[in-house]
């Protein structure tokens, strides 16, 4: 039984979500290969070959694959799936986009957002915004799963896998890439950050959000997150959103500023190691999951906190 892991990377760097997905795949099989697709991804492939436990790295390069069009990526992986019993994909926006296509093409059910591999056919996954955990058993010959990477430890470095080139199948004309607009930031990525400072609706405006959250995040070397309310109100860009419909994070430290803690937000951060809530409403639901709470107006609490951090 062999498993194929699809690498998560930004074109130049391998994300540690790949290492975490390898850990999940190693629970299924001792023969784990990693696929790196994109354009100009040699360094990424080299980084993948150094993950401990990886047997082989497959590299597929083309301009089309760089644009991450689901039809193209899924066609490539579905073709490779012949040689594997399981395909494990990080549950990023990109992975969620193409993973169900592979399952449908293979006529198997998708195991999405897996948080635990119990055995070769049994998996645990969250449902209802993480308010329940479902243990499912599949009898499918091939397993296609997306992995909730925050639930797995990163596989160590120290491997020396061989790197092989594979050819992507010809692409179809139904979808064309028009443009992309990436949010650039010097801060750590939300999904990988050790510390996250998140702001909510209470901040009141984009200017206030930036003026309050950014300096604290910079001081802590933290990534910036936001509640849906803050994103909807335009205080923060969409991809800052933490929650059921945004990103699921599990940093060492999560500081929620002016966030009430709706079910949908908690779904995205309640597996953080330490949660801090700063909110002036002592009844806010966020306090029911926070390890440390400050019932205070952020206007005084954040400057005090900056001072206390020295």
């Amino acid at each position: 039984m062999a498993a194929l892991v699809i690498a998560d990377h930004d074109g130049a760097h391998l994300r540690d979500t790949t290492h975490k997905t390898v850990t999940a795949a190693l629970a299924l099989s001792s023969d784990v290969d990693v696929l790196v697709y994109g354009e100009g991804v040699k360094t990424v492939a080299e980084a993948a070959s150094k993950i401990a436990g990886v047997r082989k790295v497959l590299v597929a390069e083309s301009a089309d694959l760089k644009q991450d069009i689901a039809e193209d990526v899924a066609a490539l992986i579905t073709g490779l799936a012949v040689n594997y019993d399981a395909v494990a994909i990080p549950a990023s926006a990109s992975g969620k986009n193409f993973a169900p296509r592979i399952a449908a093409a293979l006529d198997v059910s998708l195991l999405s957002d897996v948080i635990e591999v119990v055995d070769g056919s049994t998996f645990v996954r969250p449902i209802y915004a993480g308010n329940a955990l479902e243990t499912v058993q599949t009898s499918e010959a091939k397993k296609v799963l997306t992995v909730r990477t925050t639930a797995f430890k990163a596989a160590a470095e120290g491997g020396s896998a061989s790197v092989e080139t594979v050819t992507a199948p010809a692409t179809k004309a139904g979808t064309r890439f028009i443009s992309e607009e990436k949010v650039t930031s010097d801060r750590p990525e939300l999904g990988a950050a050790k510390i996250i400072v998140s702001g909510g609706r209470a901040l009141g405006s984009k200017e206030e959000f930036d003026a309050v959250i950014d300096p604290l995040a910079d001081k802590l070397g933290a990534a910036v997150g936001a509640s849906r309310a803050a994103v909807d109100a335009g205080y923060a860009p969409n991809d800052y959103q933490v929650g059921q419909t945004g990103k699921v994070v599990a940093p060492e430290l999560y500081i929620a500023v002016g966030i009430s803690g709706a079910i949908q937000h908690l779904a995205g951060m309640k597996d953080s190691k330490v949660i801090v809530a700063i909110n002036k409403d002592p009844e806010a639901p966020i306090f029911s999951v926070a390890d440390y709470g400050l019932v205070a107006d952020y206007k005084t609490a954040i400057p005090d906190l900056m001072k206390a951090l020295g």
């Binding site: 449902i127 209802y128 009898s139 991809d239 019932v295």
Partner: protein, 248 residues
Amino acid sequence: MKILVPVKRVLDYNVKVRVKSDQSGVDLANVKMSMNPFDEIAVEEATRLKEKGVATEIVAVSIGPAQAKDTIITALTIGADRGILIQTDQDVEPLAVAKLLKAVAETEKPDLIIMGKQAIDGDNNATGQMLSTLLDWPQATFASKVVVENGEAQVTREVDGGLQTLGVKLPAVITTDLRLNEPRYASLPNIMKAKKKPLETKTVADYGVDVTPRLKVLKVTEPPKRSAGKKLADAAELVANLKSAGVL
């Protein structure tokens, strides 16, 4: 242009989920059920396309128990023209839903299918992509903006790290993100009108699709409880606690 909008009846998003003590599932008896929020956005988007003169007919389809009729009526209230209920008491998995929707698409021949990116009960985020694969139509998932012109939908998608815009040739499948629009409130006249709109009831057998579950749910449990911690007096005490917890 005809638009097909699949809608799902789910536990209302505000309801606190209770896991049954025998671990067989989530307690859905006597709790408020509603249309999946992402699907509401899909119906709204289809309705806006009709109001712009792009779409001519909107067909809402739901797969579920007899009560899913209410979900279709909600869609008819927002702006769908007619409904199809594929009635079943079985829990239908995303792949089987995709197969049923493919069969519906083959008879209805829509130019566009708009649906939610995920249902807030199963949280799978799979059906739209599966349907697109089975139909061999292009897909544009997690849409935050849709413009239809010249036989193409230009869709701005929410991706990790920003936005991506794709052009998909019609017919195509689009799945909605929360950012796409704000669904309208139902007005009383529209509620009255919706009751008069056609609603056809079908069975799974009518489409010849095998909906036997492929996944066996062994148990449903509560996630580990996270209990409330300490409320602290001030920022200095907070920093001291974070330092001793080893996270600073």
